[in-house]
Symmetry: C2
Subunit: 505 residues, 2 copies
């Protein structure tokens, strides 16, 4: 292994993410500030990815109190902690082997937590039954997705497994598919319809893919990451019929199910819609749904736990899911316990109920207000437009760039939206995600912006973004003398790598 | 994906582990007892794998107190907690993004923790320098190992990557190598020399493998899992010279470095030995060393964190380590903080120093006493022999079985040691690991037994094991009437699957 030639070709083929490059740059700038460098900003504000605690959102108190007691059980006697906190901790410690969060668990998760999840899903879906044995807990929903995609992976060339993937999609998805060894088959979401899924486009994507690979699954993100779109029952049913007709496994990322804030919008699960359809669908269509404690209201990204529910899967396939999870040994216990608390929160009358409810509602209210504020702000900027969002934690505005900027970016061998984000980061300390889904025909690029941040932080972001954007656009406009004021459009930027270092969700 | 045929052939090829089957059986028995079934024992005692907290070993108080405060920072004001606990928690919260354990971290780990680890290694190795950029934190050492092995994997047939693997080895290793797609090349450890590594055997194994695959790495476990052997400097130097001559990457599992208890034995790291050799070695031999919070003294298996240090690795290869860790998003933060506490414990004079030291010393004393007790006990049983252990948390006794038992096992299509463990579990509720390394010529089998359990639990295990073993052997001895009393030797056992469900370390 003394040379690069010897690295596994599949690993070598994992695409570099411009997001990772931007993250390295953000880390470098932060380090420079720590070391005393003078910048026109106090520090980097990162709204590129969904990391609410990093952005200053507070954790749910009940969750943290219960986990603290589970880690240090002497706190069971601490009467300053609410009674339901201590009772819940006691109960959770009883279901940990040896009464300790330091023990391994079954690789597919703690039976008690799986049971809590199944009951939560049954309640959520108005009684459609869910079973603990169909629940698989993992260190985050991404890890569960990787397990399923790896099971699907096979073949080479035209028999190679393909996965229909929305465009735009979560920025962590393409490298995951690369690593698993499957082909990404893009289908375009409809920006002018608020990023809806379009059935004709699904058929087109599938038709184009056949012969190049063997499409075996379709990935959906609902509420949409990064689009903020929320599907209604009719749209979901269409996708299910499509998957059934084309014999595709449905991989449904529903991690933002707790954060739908659009007027008269609600989250409806794929499973619920499926079970309200005829038996020819409800008993045959294979579906895997993912959820996570990194979701909006919990925001416990650092604790690492998520789960998938499998519906209509072949038990022999499920057996291999277990085999794959085994190599992870087990999911972090603190994360599993947080998962239990997420799906089984305090009930009315419990001492922690009011605080828990207020904290959750505050998150939803923040999302809703921030979404409206950002959308209006961005639509007022020249060369920027933003679809309204109805759920999730992102906005995905469109950047209409003058052709000379796109040309400049081409010379620098970087996407124009990456260049935009890089300059914004260097000049204003604001870190936005680059969409990187330029299609070459429209000159349009996109930005990804997390809105799960405290409102005052958001105002700071908009201040910096607004002045940068106006400068960026103005400096590209013709000057009175007929020339183009070609400020430091990238020339003075530091070398920039797309090497993967800090991917986040 | 409606049929098994469609599961990724590599995943289908992961070998079933008899350990998983035994774990399922143990879980079933536990469930039956919970549901009121009458058994001749109160519950299952699991000494099959290293899960100290499950077995009743207490966690280190300092670790749990600091983590509790980090989760629920209001405890910073709780004066019943030692001052150094609160100060350390404060410091750790400062290095968490947004001051929260709920934020993502860099995928290769928190810079502060990597720095602590590098300083720990430098102290441990008497000044041999270690650098934070060579440290990669992951959700357990097994995960880090998987990343490196996947980087190595390539080729098919005689160009397929092979990894020299000790026999016996950690029971989680063979499925890991299967999943990564590399060939396991076994080398036998020398039981009659306390499970030492033998140079001639390494050469023999390598020679046999060449032409069948392309050996590119050698895996070593020191202190040995499950053998308890501890290598001296001379043996380590021999292995390093062998690896250098044969251009093999050294993968050294050193997770039990904190638990050497043999008289006049000490842990010496491969890195330290390497750096005391000539430059032709110290500047060229590629080495990766693994450590984990699941180690003996911490025993925090459920929190999931470990690290690897890379020595002399090509920076371009290291780049891909980052890429691979990216798909895990990030290592659990509670685990990373526990890692920081493990490598940077309280110092003399700190309020928590005495308790911390007592708790750690108690673990070492327990291991030492238990090792001696079990070894003597087993060597007194007919048909059983046990090499002395010097470190780690396992004993690996040899079971000399009468040929009729081996024949019986063959009829039942199960290894004789698995049959032994299955009957012991059903009849006495004691769960030992099966060695499964029968070589067909000696009639010898092996058992794996964790000795990191409270002494009174150990006595219970030995009671049950002793009476079972005598029954097992006696029932196979010729009776006065000349027949063989063929008790329920497996006939009444329930169906037993080797399907993977609950692997542990």
């Amino acid at each position: 292994m003394s040379s690069l030639q010897l690295v596994n070709p599949r690993v070598r083929g994992i695409r570099g993410s411009p997001h990772s490059g931007l993250q390295s740059l953000a880390a470098r700038i932060t380090q420079e500030i720590t070391q005393g460098a003078q910048k026109p900003f106090k520090g980097v504000i990162d709204v590129s990815s969904g990391d609410p605690h990093k952005a200053g959102v507070k954790p749910i108190s009940f969750v943290r109190q219960v986990l603290a007691v589970c880690l240090h059980p002497q706190l069971l006697k601490n009467k300053t902690l609410p009674l339901d906190v201590r009772m819940r901790a006691q109960r959770l410690l009883e279901v940990c082997d040896g009464g300790s969060v330091g023990s391994y668990t079954a690789s597919s998760g703690m039976p008690h937590v799986k049971q809590s999840i199944a009951e939560f899903i049954t309640r959520r879906d108005a009684g459609v039954p869910s079973h603990a044995e169909d629940i698989f807990i993992s260190a985050g929903s991404q890890r569960a997705l990787m397990v399923v995609v790896k099971l699907l992976a096979s073949g080479e060339g035209e028999t190679r497994t393909g996965v229909l993937t929305p465009r735009p999609c979560p920025h962590t998805l393409p490298p995951l598919l690369d690593e698993a060894g499957v082909t990404l088959v893009p289908y375009q979401l409809m920006e002018d319809r608020g990023w809806a899924v379009d059935l004709d486009e699904l058929h087109r994507a599938l038709k184009t893919a056949r012969g190049r690979c063997e499409p075996r699954a379709i990935y959906i993100s609902n509420p949409g990451n990064p689009t903020g779109h929320v599907q209604d029952g009719k749209s979901i049913e269409e996708v299910i019929r499509f998957a059934a007709a084309e014999r595709l496994l449905l991989l449904v990322d529903e991690v933002y199910q707790d954060s739908v804030y659009g007027q008269e919008k609600e989250f409806i699960s794929y499973k619920r819609v499926l079970f309200e359809m005829d038996k020819e669908y409800s008993e045959t269509v294979q579906l895997v749904s993912f959820h996570s404690i990194s979701s909006a209201c919990m925001g416990e990204c650092g604790l690492r736990a998520g789960y998938m529910e499998q519906v209509n899967m072949d038990p022999e396939v499920t057996h291999f899911v277990d085999t794959m999870l085994c190599t992870d040994i087990s999911t972090p216990v603190t994360g599993q316990l947080a998962l239990d608390l997420m799906v089984n929160p305090p009930k009315p009358g419990d001492p922690s109920y009011d605080t828990y409810t207020q904290e959750s509602l505050l998150t939803l209210a923040t999302l809703s207000q921030n979404a409206q504020r950002v959308q209006e702000f961005l639509n007022d900027l020249p060369g920027m437009s933003c679809q309204p969002a109805m759920g999730g934690i992102y906005l995905y505005p469109c950047l209409h760039l003058p052709s000379e900027i796109i040309e400049k970016a081409k010379k620098l061998e970087v996407e124009a939206d990456v260049l935009y984000c890089q300059m914004l980061l260097e000049e204003e300390g604001v870190f936005l995600g680059a969409g990187c889904q330029y299609d070459g025909t429209t000159g349009n690029h996109h930005l990804r912006l997390s809105i799960l941040v405290p409102p005052d932080t958001l105002e700071e972001v908009l201040d910096h973004l607004g002045s940068f954007h106006l400068r960026f656009v103005r400096d590209k406009l013709p000057r009175p003398d007929g020339g183009v004021k070609d400020r430091d459009m990238g020339e003075n930027l530091r070398p920039f790598s797309t090497a993967g270092t800090f991917p986040m969700n």
